[in-house]
């Protein structure tokens, strides 16, 4: 019994504890900073890890004096839509490459890979040109359209890996039963790759809501901005950083998302281990 408990301690609680500490300490710092008045923040005399005189001023200022709520809405809209597009395109690319031998597969594979050869700091000037010619400057469509360029290849490759973990026998059985390729994909393969879509979806959503450079170039009016760009434009003024508000923005921008993630992860993993893989 003791061996079990100490081994569990070693195998689970210690590594978990350390990881959580490493991952979350900065958030503790962000929280503490967002609750401190400027005077307390700059004071080196007090213990920096505790808030001595908490204030909600930064949160209030953030919400009332900036367009933070609008930015948040924009960010969600953009992230969800680009994620949906990326998952769709990703799956469309992944399935044939994972399962079907077809002429030109190598070329397609290479083309997707080559997408990532192009670094963002290079892409954005000509991309800005395209967006402007399409008249999409300052619209959320501009980023919804351009974000998938960053996301599709990864989604495709991740999904390819997951598609391949589906035993070919299952698909063959379906085909023999008379199902078409599309049907097989939708009815057999996709459900088994739930975790893959979740991972890819989380990845895509997060990258989309984090993205900075394209949003900076294409979204110039404060009403259409996303959180990263809006926060930096209005809360970083020259060499004066509005630390409290910036940290408040960081927390308000990420904690709700984390809560939503916790639901997704639970749902799909539970569904999977419920036994759809067995038999």
């Amino acid at each position: 019994m003791t061996v079990d408990r100490s081994s569990r301690l070693l195998k689970l609680w210690v590594p978990l504890g350390v990881s959580l500490f490493f991952a979350l300490f900065p958030f503790y710092w962000m929280a503490v900073t967002s609750l401190k008045s400027n005077q307390e923040l700059y004071s080196r005399k007090v213990m920096p890890l505790i808030v001595h005189q908490p204030t909600l001023k930064h949160y209030v200022d953030l919400i009332t004096e900036t367009n933070f709520l609008e930015w948040t809405w924009n960010t969600f809209l953009v992230a969800i839509t680009s994620t949906a597009i990326s998952l769709l395109f990703g799956a469309m690319l992944a399935y044939p490459l994972a399962r079907i031998r077809f002429a030109g597969a190598a070329l397609v594979s290479f083309a997707i890979a080559a997408t990532y050869l192009v670094p963002q700091p290079l892409l954005f000037v000509p991309l800005a040109d395209i967006i402007n010619k399409l008249g999409l400057g300052d619209t959320l469509t501009s980023v919804i359209l351009t974000y998938p360029t960053l996301l599709v290849p990864f989604c495709a490759w991740l999904l390819m890996g997951y598609f391949r973990t589906v035993p070919a026998e299952l698909e063959d059985a379906a085909r023999i039963d008379g199902a078409g390729r599309l049907q097989t994909l939708i009815k057999i393969v996709l459900p088994l790759c739930g975790p893959g879509f979740i991972s890819a979806g989380i990845f895509a959503f997060t990258l989309a809501q984090n993205e900075f450079l394209y949003a900076l170039i294409f979204l110039t009016k404060t009403e259409v901005r996303t959180v990263p760009v809006g926060a930096v434009a209005e809360l970083v003024r020259g060499d004066v950083f509005y630390w409290g508000q910036l940290m408040a923005a960081a927390l308000l921008g990420s904690i709700p998302v984390a809560i939503i993630y916790s639901f997704f992860v639970e749902h799909y993993v539970a569904g999977l281990t419920a036994g759809s893989v067995k038999g």
């Binding site: 005077q39 700059y42 080196r44 008249g135 400057g137 900076l216 209005e234 003024r237 950083f241």
Partner: protein
């Protein structure tokens, strides 16, 4: 280039056709008649009331007077150049923009010639400072209207300096070094930026270089002059100043660090714009009482400062150049310009002599040195004339890194050789 141009025009035809088609369905496209609106792009001022004043007062006043709506687009200081670049490259975007440094030269072709209104404004407001013209006159034409300088001067703690025996700010660099050694011993070191920021590093390193008689390139714009005894002396001084008076961290400081360090009472002296005093008055009134601002110390060859001009330009892609020019002219008239400068309480030091004795200087007399420094302020790259090589040198931090590497241990000879090699390559290609 031709291939791209042709491809683009083909695309243009398609797109314009589509848009035009949609346009006729949706109604008149803005901009076919007299412009109903103008957009001005600006860096976000660290003085929020300044931005607010434009949006709420100036824009509204103009709309009332002329019917033209003026939009104000705010970009963070670090991102402004990127936005201007994209706008210029794609010939689309805001009508007017704030610019800095030598951008009037960089974007020469894309900015409207405003020599005529510049002359009017100068006449109306006591004439322009000559140093301002360094930044905006390209091939004899004014490509921007200077608005104000964002000076970088010495910010220091009068109480601690007094304790060390200094009632006034040191006159020369050597005196500053002496003071710094004493102050570091007393637990109040200096903190000057040596990292890859955008202002507080250049703000003292270029003046340091110049005050020793050194320069990157001669006035002919071609001869690389960085390899000289004067430069070596400046570098040696800087190394001493760093080692004997500063925090180690300064090597990696970007612009926000010295503000933070000063306001948290870590350092007794730094080079900065007026933002430290402004923030102190707002949040640390007791500390604000013992802060003062002074001109840069003198070197063997004089006293210098960084010219950091905020100017306004009109993009050539604007639909109605006259409307844009009229707006800019209106903006720079004493009533508007004076009020806008007033809100900023001398954070932007005006380039027009009419404002030399403006009331806002009396509001905070400690900001007066920023005005006095205008006469001795120059752009990085001085005494060479405006050029792209100058931008490249700044973007590659040639001068900053030369000093920084010396401070972190490299030999003076080596760092100067490196800088020379870089400048040779940069100015050769230009």
């Amino acid at each position: 280039m031709a291939r791209i141009v042709r491809a683009q025009s083909r695309r243009d035809v398609l797109k314009t056709g589509a848009v035009a088609g949609l346009g006729t369905l949706l109604g008149p496209v803005a901009g076919q008649a007299a412009p109903k609106s103008l957009t001005m792009m600006h860096e976000s001022s660290f003085i929020p009331p300044y931005d607010a004043y434009f949006k709420n007062d100036l824009a509204r006043a103009y709309e009332k007077a002329t019917g033209i709506k003026v939009n104000y687009e705010v970009v963070s200081v670090g991102s402004l150049l990127t936005r201007v670049t994209t706008a210029a490259e794609n010939s689309t975007g805001p009508d007017l923009t704030a610019i800095g440094f030598n951008w009037a030269y960089l974007f020469d072709d894309k900015f409207v010639d405003v020599t005529d209104i510049a002359a009017e404004i100068g006449k109306e407001s006591g004439g322009w400072y000559e140093t301002a013209q360094e930044a905006v006159v390209v091939n004899g034409k004014w490509k921007a209207i200077p608005f104000g300088n964002i000076g970088q001067l010495m910010n220091w703690r009068t109480d601690w300096f007094k304790q060390a025996g200094y009632e006034k700010f040191p006159e020369t660099w050597d005196e500053l070094l002496e003071a710094g050694i004493k102050l570091k011993k007393a637990g109040h070191p200096f903190g000057f930026e040596l990292g890859h920021g955008f202002g507080d590093n250049h703000g003292w390193l270029y003046p340091l270089l110049w005050s020793y008689g050194a320069r990157e390139v001669e006035a002919d714009g071609k001869t690389i002059a960085i390899d000289s005894d004067e430069t070596a002396r400046a570098v040696d001084y800087c190394r001493r100043l760093y080692k004997e008076t500063m925090l180690e961290d300064c090597l990696g400081w970007t612009d926000v660090n010295n503000n933070k360090a000063f306001l948290s009472e870590q350092i007794s002296c730094t080079n900065n714009a007026e933002s430290i005093l402004w923030a102190a008055k707002k949040d640390f009134p007791d500390m604000a009482k013992v802060i003062d601002q002074s001109e840069n110390p003198k070197g063997p060859k004089g006293r210098f400062h960084m010219l950091n001009p905020l100017c306004h330009s009109i993009f050539t892609h604007t639909e109605d150049k006259k409307a844009a020019k009229d707006f800019l002219r209106w903006l720079m008239a004493p009533k508007q310009c004076g009020a806008w400068l007033d809100i900023a309480v001398s954070y932007y030091q005006p380039f027009l002599h009419a404002y030399d004795d403006a009331p806002f200087w009396k509001v905070e007399p400690r900001n007066l040195p920023y005005r006095d420094a205008l006469k001795t302020s120059h752009l990085p790259g001085w005494p060479a004339p405006l050029s792209r090589a100058q931008s490249e040198s700044v973007a590659k931090y040639v001068v900053v890194d030369m000093f920084a590497k010396a401070c972190s241990g490299k030999s003076t000879k080596e760092v100067i050789a490196d800088a020379k090699a870089q400048l040779t390559q940069i100015y050769k290609a230009a």
